[in-house]
Symmetry: C2
Subunit: 474 residues, 2 copies
């Protein structure tokens, strides 16, 4: 049916490629729990052997003190652009294991789906990329472009050392752009390409009003209750209508332009179905619709708050301490440190008399990311998806945060386009994670076509989009 | 030194009386934990044997399905008043056991103090009452008045069945007034008599905004966050100045009169020392001082609130549920059910859109209690304390709740005066609970003198203070 020799080979080789994916899925490569160190090592060995056998050079581990990443390259096309292809071999913990229909590290194919921990996030998507490139090297002895592979081992535990890995290996990782095999598609019913993500920042603090909990009969009504103070303080963070009430919070956030909002308006979106699925209702910054609130505007969310007695029955105390965890999602233009500073200022200014705040250290956060709208990799991805699916892909964003995009932009000066074939409904991070077999076939075809299309480009196409890497803020 | 033959006998018998107290302290009579059932039984057997040996009649257990109370009577003075003498033989759990200087159920005498779980609350105070009466029966063959002893076994777990015990045994427990051997004195540096206590009521509820926790990137900013809604709702319960903002909350609370406030003003009270001890600061209903806020005015306190992620690190969720526990302390005139209804109305009226409230059942609560100011038992107690201490006792109240006073008032139509010799600093409910040996001697003397003084009264003195028992509200 297809005249492409690489695709013909991949069709013949499909059973073997799936068996290699199954072997990778059998490695319990949980990065967050040291008990799985052996599974992490097994996954690395298997992938490095595969890359070497496929014809990649310089296959090795690169690390900055955490779980190593895997590196490999094929750079036999001088004059053609170079792409850093990203994926991650680590997976989420399988808990709660009892909720799985089959053991999480014994992959099963059921009803056209592969079920296993990590299959959708990110082992099948990264295997698709590897198999497609291996197909080129097997059939044609070369790739259409230069490729550097970077397979991270800490994506599921916060990419703690990815920034340092990029710093240490800046020359090794030099490229024209990043193609990420990670980053799930939004929906199964719409062909989309993701052009941006929100940043994030976090804040944790405790509020203390006395040296100890007090008996509510012997002290209640005459002194400060930490929970009253915390409730008042947290309530001050938002207006009743949903707007964040923190001074300066929105200052640097790029205001959506008419074109941005028009783009959102064109996206088919069943808003009532969206809220019905989780029994919620629309609520947020006034003046914006749901997609703008999720994709273009920053938000401040309390993730946890607690204090006093939380067990069964009553305990008649005046609690002396309360705790809160907040995270923000950031829009283009916002700096995580500046936003955190604004929220801290607000909390200090609104802290009720008699209460003391103590802030705890949190991770430095990431900025929002947007692919330049005429970026040559983005245009190539869109054309490829149109060829594979027969429909022009719709540009969308995600409200979540992808530290990778911010890290490679900041440390390596590179733009990232996501080219993954998982979809957001595939229960990643949950029991019975799965991946659609149909996506495996579609993904192989798409990667082959994308690589061929990128082979028609030159490094010159990318020159005007590369920016000087910044040193990260301390 | 004293001419009173009963007191002379008690002085000779002191070592034996202390040994009997030690034996009682060795019984681990923790009522809240079924693992201590044997300790509860041992304490009952020991006390019943002691009462029978001392000369009390009809010694038996009376119960209404929970831990039994112990009953015993000596009613050989027709024409004299009858007093229900109350104490409780159950104790708080000893946890955290590691924080004790010696094992909680192996009593030690150190530096003039007995250290053991339950010694101050309430085994020494009730032993004093028993030893004093046993002294009368031993030396004189009779008591100056009629006495019915009621030793409760559920005081430390909420007096769940005390009301039913009173209902079932209304005739058996008929008396002219209640003398409570429970109810700690306020301070060691001031001779006080407690003339009242606040009531209480409780409320627990959850607030739900969605069917499950949501990813803060994929949903944050566009839907209702349960913690935002809960913080706003809880913050609405109070004004910034400390006044309870619930409509109708203060309606039935008797307003302190000039005489009440003048009484408070006369009490020696080191307010800055009070707050310094727990590093707190004054805060409460405007227009009242600390003692009025603690003793005469109602309060609404959050005892616990929680929701979302409370573990280590960040979890980027939009929580779908939050929980809160509230208790109120009530002033004279307030009905617990009406106050709870007012708070529930407020919560429903102020519940943010998109949030649903679910209330959980809580105990029905107790009303505040005040001894009538010319009550003959109160006057006798004051005269006795003046004789024993050489100082006119100061009338004070407590901000805490004594369900006993409300229960016997409601079920038996009786007033209660507290005549305990523990003090509030004796670490009851905490590790290293202790009782002062000096209080043991002072207490014996006071009980003997009180009983002699009461013997000069007649039932007629009490007739105008007895009220018709009410049926409790459903």
């Amino acid at each position: 049916m297809t005249a492409d020799p690489v695709l013909s080979f991949l069709e013949q080789d499909r059973a073997a490629a799936l068996e290699r994916l199954m072997a990778l899925l059998r490695c319990p490569s949980v990065s967050t729990d040291p008990a799985y160190a052996q599974g992490m090592g097994a996954a690395r060995e298997l992938l490095m052997a595969r890359l070497a056998r496929a014809g990649f050079g310089h296959v090795r581990e690169i690390s900055a003190g955490g779980h190593p990443a895997i590196y490999g390259e094929w750079c036999g096309q001088p004059g053609r652009p170079t792409f850093l292809v990203y994926g991650h071999y680590d997976v989420q913990p399988p808990d709660p294991i009892a909720d799985w229909s089959s053991p999480p590290f014994e992959p099963r194919i059921v009803d056209g789906r592969i079920r296993a921990r990590g299959v959708s996030d990110d082992k099948a998507p990264l295997s698709i990329a590897i198999e497609a490139m291996a197909g080129f090297l097997h059939v044609e002895g070369r790739l259409p472009v230069n490729v550097k592979l970077l397979l991270e081992g800490e994506e599921e535990c916060g990419s703690a050392t990815l920034g340092q890995i990029c710093e240490r290996h800046r020359d090794l990782l030099a490229a024209d752009a990043v193609i990420s095999a990670d980053g799930a598609r939004w929906r199964t019913d719409l062909c989309t390409v993701n052009v941006g993500s929100r940043g994030n920042a976090a804040l944790e603090f405790s509020l203390t009003t006395a040296a100890r909990d007090l008996h509510s009969g012997r002290f209640g009504g005459a002194t400060v209750n930490a929970l009253h103070a915390m409730a008042r303080l947290l309530a001050s963070l938002h207006e009743a209508d949903g707007r964040v009430a923190v001074e300066d919070f929105y200052d640097d956030a790029r205001l959506p332009e008419a074109a941005d909002l028009a783009m959102l308006a064109r996206i088919p979106f069943d808003e009532s179905g969206f809220f019905r699925e989780f029994s919620g209702r629309p609520h947020g910054e006034p003046g914006y619709g749901t997609l703008a609130r999720l994709w273009l505007r920053p938000t401040l969310e309390m993730n946890g708050m607690w204090g006093g007695y939380t067990g069964a029955g009553a305990k008649t105390i005046v609690p002396h301490r309360a705790e809160a965890k907040l995270t923000m999602r950031l829009a283009d233009g916002q700096d995580p440190a500046r936003v955190v500073a604004a929220v801290r200022r607000h909390l200090k200014n609104h802290c009720p008399a008699g209460a003391q705040l103590d802030f705890r250290d949190t991770s430095p956060g990431s900025r929002a990311y947007t692919v330049p709208e005429n970026h040559p990799l983005l245009l190539a991805v869109e054309r490829t998806l149109a060829d594979v699916t027969g429909a022009q892909p719709v540009r969308v964003r995600i409200g979540a945060t992808l530290p990778l995009s911010d890290i490679v932009s900041t440390r390596l000066g590179l733009d990232t386009v996501m080219f993954s074939f998982s979809t957001a409904d595939e229960k990643f991070h949950a029991p019975d994670e799965f991946f659609r077999l149909a996506s495996f076939d579609k993904g192989l075809r798409a990667w082959v076509l994308l690589l061929r299309r990128l082979g028609l480009q030159t490094p010159y196409d990318y020159a005007r989009f590369q920016h000087r890497p910044e040193r990260p803020s301390a």
